[in-house]
Symmetry: C2
Subunit: 109 residues, 2 copies
Amino acid sequence: MLNENQAVNALGALAQETRLKIVRFLIQQGPTGSAAGTISRNLNVSASRLSFHLAALEHAGILTSKRVSRNIFYRANYDRLGNLIAYLLEDCCGNNPTILACCSTKDKS
Amino acid sequence: MLNENQAVNALGALAQETRLKIVRFLIQQGPTGSAAGTISRNLNVSASRLSFHLAALEHAGILTSKRVSRNIFYRANYDRLGNLIAYLLEDCCGNNPTILACCSTKDKS
DNA sequence: TCAACTATTCAAGTATTATTGAAATGTTAA
DNA sequence: TTAACATTTCAATAATACTTGAATAGTTGA
């Protein structure tokens, strides 16, 4: 579902304060997404800076965009995010990681 | 369980080809982990390069280490990885994301 | 204690990435 | 068709990260 380079690029896109804020915000917005201006106002990020980071996220496959009149709506690519997590956790806990609870080190030395 | 900086650092640690290989390998090794030399041979990474990346991963909280005689064993910090994913997906799908299936965009325009 | 083994540290060179503000592009309403 | 709006592009600057090989440090068996 995802190869090594795609995974590295996606993780790299997430590994930045502003971009992580954007992604978490959009994940919470649901499938409709938000316009760039809305994101800019909510997260207090200048337009050009936001545009730069949105482009990086879209290029990494984490976001998709769609113009609606003057606005461009961005939304989280939920499938891609799911595949990224699956790639990271592949072959963990017999391929059935309940978010890693099965391998938790809580009760081990 | 994890703050913004910790999440950015963890994601940054994962966003590199060699380090992602290391983490995926260790996740598959389970709670016992592997010695540095074993990782080096399995992934074909030079000792100094491996050491550099292991230190980065440990500093980011993704790995833990423990000396056992001449060897140093590294293992995935499963709890931390679980918390990282939880941070990313916070407030998605009513906080109960079956790895995002509920927000999948497959059947939407 | 010496030799071998396992792993880390260091310095130098190379490459990639983020921020800012001004200018440009595309879209709409009147 | 012009003015206002929403967003992106560009160029310059500043900061951070990766690789390599040689040197160093800790651990063990004979």
